[in-house]
Amino acid sequence: MPRARGSGIIVALLAAASAPLVLMYVFLVIETVGEAPPGQLLPDGFTLENWRFLWEDLPGKANIWAVTLNTFIFASATTVIVLAVSSTAGYALSRINLPFRAYFLAGVLVLHAFPTVTLIIAIFLVLQMIGLYNTLTGVILVKASLELPLGIWIMKGFYDTVPWEIEMAGVQDGASRFTVWRRLILPQVTPGILALGVFSFLAGWSEFILPQVLAPDNKVQVLSVYLAGLIADDYDLNFALFKSIGLFYVIPVVILYLFFQDKLMNIYGGGTKG
């Protein structure tokens, strides 16, 4: 490939454009443990002062560990629902000749492209009416439901790649379709389940608008709402403290991303974020 000539200029231009991002992420780490006097960027001392939120509650705020537990419950419950429901529905849509199958598929696709955030007002009112407002259950059910079209579509894609011969062999040996799915097909789509699982967990962990609107209460607060509330409340922004909480919040994301990078790329490629 003709890729050597003049790449110095390109690198320089790209580096200039990327500089704000690099600075932000570098200082995200530096500032959490560094002591820098006002008007100076680089720290001249080491401190754990900004991490005190781990062992003492901030005034008027929920306990960080309770909030972290809520976030974990929210993200994992959403993931479990999305996986269970998508791996069954995806199979049905990929392999079983159902009446109205084409309509179901078209429906899944339209909903997949549909911008779910526009529904937040109606969902808020529905949860108020059925009494699930300000509960983790409510926001879990909503998040999982909104994620389902994507999940079903991805799982259907993975089922589509499994050779029909496996299934036919199973059926000819007299196994029921359920047994064939459970014993033969499901093991074939483990990479899909893994990718979708990690993606759903990260989506749940990062979600802000849904819990902010549907479960803002201190008792059911998740980390995104906790951090956003802290930033919004404070007149004198303590960026070092906020960044420490932010870094604490993003650690699981970084770990999962490092391990599952390749698998996630496929899903993010068709992702839904602006």
């Binding site: 490939m1 003709p2 890729r3 000539r5 790449s7 990327s18 704000p20 991002l21 600075l23 932000m24 992420y25 960027l41 998508s86 069954t88 529905a89 049905a92 079983i96 000749n97 159902l98 084409a102 598929l105 078209a106 696709l109 339209v110 492209a113 549909f114 911008p115 779910t116 955030v117 526009t118 529904l119 937040i120 007002i121 109606a122 969902i123 808020f124 009112l125 529905v126 108020q128 059910l141 999982a144 439901s145 389902l148 079209p149 589509d160 059926v171 802000f208 608008i209 609107v213 956003a228 930033i231 922004l237 906020f242 932010g246 993003v250 994301v253 790329m265 490629g269 992702g271 602006g274």
Partner: protein, 436 residues
């Protein structure tokens, strides 16, 4: 049906249930709520009936006889089993109450004086003036400031208080005192009729198209093409950097931008070394706020195009590049004649997909400028959020907010259906090969 089909139905059931309850029904309900007057004041459930002094004022304005309206607000004293047991529970002497019950059961007294006189004339009258006044209080009855769950309860209380109303007045009262939401088309009229809407619409168009052109397609193309020509390591580093915003939780990502732009943050500190006074670069002028809104959204949005365009470029057969190289084509000619024509469909896909998601997303703007300064960066979806779910005034107008959201929901449905047709997905819907 065959067992296989039953399994399919069973497998689809949970998905259908979830999607219908929490996805499809909100789509339809947005349309329903858009035609109601729901707000914090009316609540979302069924309302009650409450007569307040302002209700009486309103009634008089609507043509009810003023003295009739005032009589509704008057306090009467009733002697009946209910008031007697209320007084008993509050500790008024049993003998007094028994005698009162025997002599005045079912009677009503128009004023406090009349009732106190009746109490005084009892053989077992309260011992002191204070006790007497306190005892009298338990017999006060008024329809004012009491919430009635049902229309019948209101009418019953009205009858008990002794106020006589004509049928017409009664209907007026029932209407005026209802606290719940009602059906209305005011929301739509208001939406199409106010100058605010035009401003918000203009903001939305600026936000969507500027971000889209500069970043989500424009800069995404630049990233994809430049990293294609770079050595693998450099390319991976830049793609990695530009992918960071997408995996960073929005709250943290916007926090980093705030640190970058705030008056105690990066820009102010660095410019301070050159004598520029520190200020909030994000919020000090409307123009700056727009710059940051576009940058914040654009830096996230660029990565989707980057991934899709990169893989599309990699799919171009390499001999095409070799051949053009031999023919002496410059880089620019390669981009212009080979890469861009191949990217026509990916560009259309990314552009249409991102138009919809930019149009409806407000998360980053909410966290960054919250529509400010003033409401210069208030876009349509954020206006719906502010109207219905969070504002400083505190009276959340669910109905009007739903009407604003309805516009986006309709655009969402139409565009998603359109995209489904354009990006021909029929090929993906192949029929299954086992018919059992």
């Amino acid at each position: 049906m065959t067992p296989g089909k039953w399994l399919g139905v069973l497998f689809l059931m949970p998905a259908t249930l979830f999607v219908v309850v929490f996805f499809l029904s909100p789509v339809l309900l947005t349309a329903v709520f858009a035609f109601t007057s729901m707000s914090t004041a009316t609540g979302v459930g069924e309302g009650g009936y409450l007569i307040t002094p302002s209700t009486l004022h309103r009634l008089a304005e609507r043509g009810m006889d003023r003295s009739t309206a005032e009589s509704l607000g008057a306090t009467t004293y009733l002697v009946n089993p209910e008031t007697l047991s209320r007084a008993r529970a509050a500790g008024v002497a049993a003998a007094t109450l028994d005698e009162l019950g025997q002599r005045h059961a079912g009677k009503s007294f128009d004023g406090r004086r009349g009732f106190e006189r009746a109490l005084k004339s009892l053989n077992n009258r309260p011992r002191s003036v204070r006790a007497l006044k306190q005892a009298a209080r338990h017999f006060e009855t008024s329809v004012l400031n009491r919430t009635f769950g049902q229309r019948e309860d209101l009418l019953a209380a009205l009858a008990a208080s002794g106020v006589r109303l004509s049928d017409e007045d009664r209907e007026r009262l029932v209407d005026a005192s209802y606290t719940g939401w009602t059906w209305t088309t005011d929301n739509l009229r208001r939406m199409f009729g106010t100058a605010d809407t035009a401003q918000v619409l203009a903001n939305t168009l600026i936000y969507v198209f500027v971000t889209l052109i500069l970043f989500n397609t424009g800069f995404a193309l630049v990233l994809a093409i430049t990293t294609f020509y770079l050595p693998t390591t450099e390319a991976a580093v830049f793609r990695g950097i530009w992918f960071l915003p997408r995996i960073t939780p929005p709250v943290l990502y916007v926090l980093l931008w705030k640190w970058f732009a705030w008056d105690t943050g990066f820009l102010s500190t660095v410019l301070g070394w050159f004598g520029v006074a520190s200020r909030n670069w994000m919020l000090d002028t409307a123009f700056n706020a727009w710059v940051f809104v576009v940058l914040i959204n654009g830096f996230v949005g660029a990565s989707m195009g980057m991934i899709i365009f990169s893989s599309a470029i990699r799919a171009i057969p390499e001999p095409l590049f070799w051949a053009s190289e031999v023919d002496g084509a410059s880089r620019w000619q390669q981009v212009r004649r080979i890469i861009l024509p191949q990217l026509r469909w990916p560009i259309l896909f990314v552009t249409s997909y991102q138009t919809l998601s930019l149009l409806t997303s407000f998360e980053y703007i909410l966290l960054a400028t919250d529509g400010g300064p003033g409401s210069t960066t208030e876009v349509w979806s954020l206006a719906a959020y502010h109207t219905a779910l969070n504002n400083y005034a505190g009276n959340l107008q669910y109905g009007y907010g739903a009407a604003l959201a309805l516009v986006l929901v309709i655009i969402g449905v139409v565009l998603s259906l359109l995209y489904l047709r354009i990006f021909n997905f029929d090929a993906l819907v192949a029929r299954p090969r086992i018919e059992t």
